[in-house]
Symmetry: D2
Subunit: 342 residues, 4 copies
């Protein structure tokens, strides 16, 4: 049985495991204050082109979103997100758990529309009763989105402009950022993101690490006493090295980008196979997640050999499923898929 | 200047003030344990036809909604509400502040649709990933709604059936319940509500009291240690008598219903005037809140003499405004309005 | 049966009820924006000698404490309080409910000791691991304390100095402030409090109002969008007039101070009676709450005629009880008590 | 420079890294549903002698404490802990962040006293006003405590009996459980813990894992939808295998106990050295954490060669420091320490 269910079906890139083993018996201070964390942060600052950036390592995406949003918003503020945004749909209410509303806007293949964001902000501030309402205090986007789609540079600039005008931060969830950056269809670089977003995180877990996400405050704009806030959220690992060494490895000699490129190359081959087999694409994704619509009978047959992810049911007889490639996807898996689709 | 802005522009019904004065120097125990609270609760139980009901008095509507919803939901649950539901739109995130998501469904002139509620529940439970999502744990409706509209008995029964099937409570916000019960267009009685809802509150503040709402758990189904929960929310008044005496008065000799009827009679006259003056109704409301669409120029002129509430702007040149009657609205106010509309 | 259980056994001072009745049919805007709220705020600013003060009316003490503390503290901060402080002991965890720790210090007849507060702050900031700990972010005192005792001006100045040095606000819970201000043993004026505290509230409920507390930010230092925060806590009454008119009355012609003086005069007479009857005082309180130690047999006999409040059990055969006077206590009640104590 | 600062200065036990590498390219389902997690759970159930136990893996201790306590307590409940309990002192308010009070009792070399716990519960339930107070809803202990001390079996039985009588759960924080179980001075086995505690966690991070703690609900008494609660807390790792494989390794062939024994053997040698060098012990700890009192001059000299942890300052010229051994401590480190202490 071969799995295309997700990009986290394997462990970590072997180079990461090697570095963990090599450094294993070094005695290092705890809580992210060791030299590998420092080194990783320096490399990330360089890759982002933001020498003043503050960087922190957090174990997972939901933890990161919850921590960042709860720490940055004021009590009376909520966060704007697309209906399909991860924080709105698939984090079990982690944001609301911290006291903040997720203010839903329509999704456009997973994306927010800058004009709609502006509309929400204008309507809010134009409403005579807005002091009885949740203040929009942040814009959340995922890039790639939950549908694998990407914002263009122009779209990011438009979102940045709205946020700047209303003086609220733009926050990007980059759980799969490696795959977004290496897409063949993107004009957005990591430096663009560091310039246009007020906060973002560089995904590790889904891009080759065993665990860990790197939150970046590119303008040195982290909330005061952020370490204490991390601790308060239960998100401070005693062995911070476990994430520092991984990110140090990922940002040495461009490994992070290389892993992204690998997955994209496999994804393009995957799309070619799906196209050849006459599969119907649910939408056009330029990254490592591909969504196709299958008849339920087809799906049952496919699943005898290949594991895929259930996404949604557009009608009684069809299912949308996701197939994902990753840094670990091999050519033989694609061949097996092609055969299974015969 | 005469105001139709809301149903809380005056103080309390004079009979209430009289009773407060008459009982003022009696020494009574605090925190709602006095005999007037007891008496009011008995009368409310009788009016509802639910001898086992538990009744509590809370100072305002948002406080009540926050307290009830936070106390009844489990951590992992959210509450379903219409987009225009008060808890979703105009309570400054009071529900999310307690850690729970408001799960938005479309509004139909302020109402939830039972089939859409069922759809949400079916989709949720049918989703293989639903353990990563907020569990729908309650249905919130307002009756009358924020647009003055009402559920029919059949619609309430349909909502009740969905909730019963999925074993989640149906909660009714009755901030303006008196006006709903006495509408000429309703087939819903207080006993129906007590039978079909798992929790509801009988609005005082907007129906003739100085402050206070009566929360009813008709089946004796209040959360354990609810008094402590009220205290924890800062919602336990030391002089509980201040609300007990008011509700005791409102539920003596049918005063509550009489006040509702008074407002409805005035509202019907108001509608007649608006119709005669050629006003465009935003929607058809059978209760004490009326919504009309005015050209901004018309509105400016009207506001020289009559205060109304801004509701929303459908386009650049028009405004939807609300005019409300109440237990206190006099005929002379209506005459003044008619003149102002000439 | 005559009650000395508390200072909230009666309704409101008759002058307050009269004003509520006189203004009852005036049409006023909601949510505390009416002219009576404005007038009351002006009078309070004058009484405090702080022309820039911001004043808000909140329905009860726990609500006020919860709202103020949650709004002023940052996520990573807690509030220092005496072990017996109301927020620590008798508010059902209302502070923790908003996410903040109450950092307990010993009580000295209900008071905090400034040197101990400084000790806590020094220890915290001197601890190399303090980033893993709750930051002390506010000092909470009650005046009078829960034992009826008072801070001297020197003690308040010492607390003020510690707070100023560590740049954290000093917050005073003045639920019974009228009685503290009119104590024969105090050298602290309302102006002193407004000068030495960063935030405080002037108690209404226990000092002659039906409900309501006036929160004062004497230096115009209220949190941004405090109205929205009030709403979010469910603490915004639609009929804000209900509190504005009461405070306007209390601060007209010195009524608030007069009511305080009345209770203090009665309390001094009460102490005289207790002394004459050989009662053992639990401590020496200069305000309206008196605490005595009774043998349980004595207590049972007393309670046949007089209601008092259980406070604590120092041993198996004795009970500490509280007797409170108020603005409403009459001479005949004292006579009845004296007789019951024969 | 050699460090005795903590038991988390090295990475993971080499056998763990080996297993991570061996299984690295296996495709496994996410979120802790893989076969290694299953296997680890089975082995833990066996080691505990509780076939019905539910086991979950969480990344760190504070996360675990926060999650368990918030999930098990009801809104109106708090958790009893010693003043020095980790949740009370060094988790940055993580428990209060979820809305619950930590109810402090005195510590006795880090331990709670069962009689004092009973006293608190009796006083609470005997207080006529207890409905205005936080309900004690759980007892938290750490074993070993923050001072390295242990509960005897009799002490655990006494705590168990109090909890059972008042029907509240006994929760043990076992961050360093391996060292407690292998102490030469203990009569408590893992089976005893599983029998006497309602919830506990088996520490991984400080006992040889790279990260991870195993929460055990020995009677199948996990809160409903615990997976969703984990997700809501941001504590659900996508690559659950990262913890499953580690615990599977630790509970294969008794590795967990072996690592505990290694640290204890080194700790006994450490104690012998400290004794020989005339060091003053702050208290008598039978586990891997040793606390000694040094003159500040001595300390400065020691720290030229050996890193130790600051604990507290008993007076101006002395400091209490902690020295910890671990599964990784070698004999040569002890020799270096002995030399540094000459």
């Amino acid at each position: 049985m071969i799995s295309f269910e997700s990009d986290y079906t394997e462990g970590a890139h072997p180079q990461i495991l090697r570095r963990l083993a090599e450094t294993n018996l070094e005695q290092l201070p705890g809580y992210g204050t060791d030299r590998y964390c420092d080194s990783a942060k320096t490399k990330i600052r360089e890759a982002c082109g933001t020498p003043d950036a503050q960087v922190w390592f957090i174990s997972g995406g939901t933890q990161t979103n919850q921590l960042v949003i709860a720490s940055v918003l004021r009590s009376y503020e909520g966060v704007i997100a697309a209906k399909t945004g991860h924080i709105n749909a698939h984090e079990a209410g982690a944001i609301e758990y911290t006291g903040h509303k997720v203010m839903e806007l329509p999704q456009h293949e997973g994306r927010l529309d800058a004009a709609e964001v502006r509309g929400l902000l204008e309507t809010f501030h134009g409403d005579e009763n807005h002091e009885h309402m949740v203040f929009p205090g942040m814009v959340y986007i995922s890039h790639p989105t939950e549908y694998g789609t990407l914002y263009s540079k122009a779209e990011l600039e438009a979102l940045h402009a709205v946020c700047a005008e209303y003086q609220i931060p733009l926050y990007m969830d980059g759980a799969r950022l490696a795959y977004g950056l290496m897409s063949r269809a993107t004009d957005v670089t990591l430096q663009d993101i560091a310039r246009l977003c007020d906060i973002f995180y560089i995904g590790g877990t889904k891009c080759g690490a065993l665990l860990g996400e790197a939150v970046v405050f590119p303008k040195g704009n982290a909330p005061e006493h952020f370490l204490t806030l991390i601790k308060q959220h239960g998100a401070l690992l005693a062995k911070g090295r476990a994430m520092g060494i991984q990110f140090d490895t990922l940002f040495t000699d461009g490994l992070y980008f290389e892993l992204g490129k690998h997955a994209i190359d496999r994804a393009e081959e995957l799309k070619q196979i799906l196209r050849e087999k006459g599969c119907v694409f649910f939408l056009n994704s330029p990254t490592n997640q591909q969504f196709i619509v299958l008849e339920d009978r087809q799906l049952a047959k496919l699943q005898e050999k290949i594991a895929v992810s259930f996404w949604e049911k557009p009608d009684e007889n069809h299912t949308v499923v996701r197939l994902a490639t990753s840094w670990a996807t091999g050519k033989e898996s694609l061949r097996a898929l092609a055969e299974a689709l015969e």
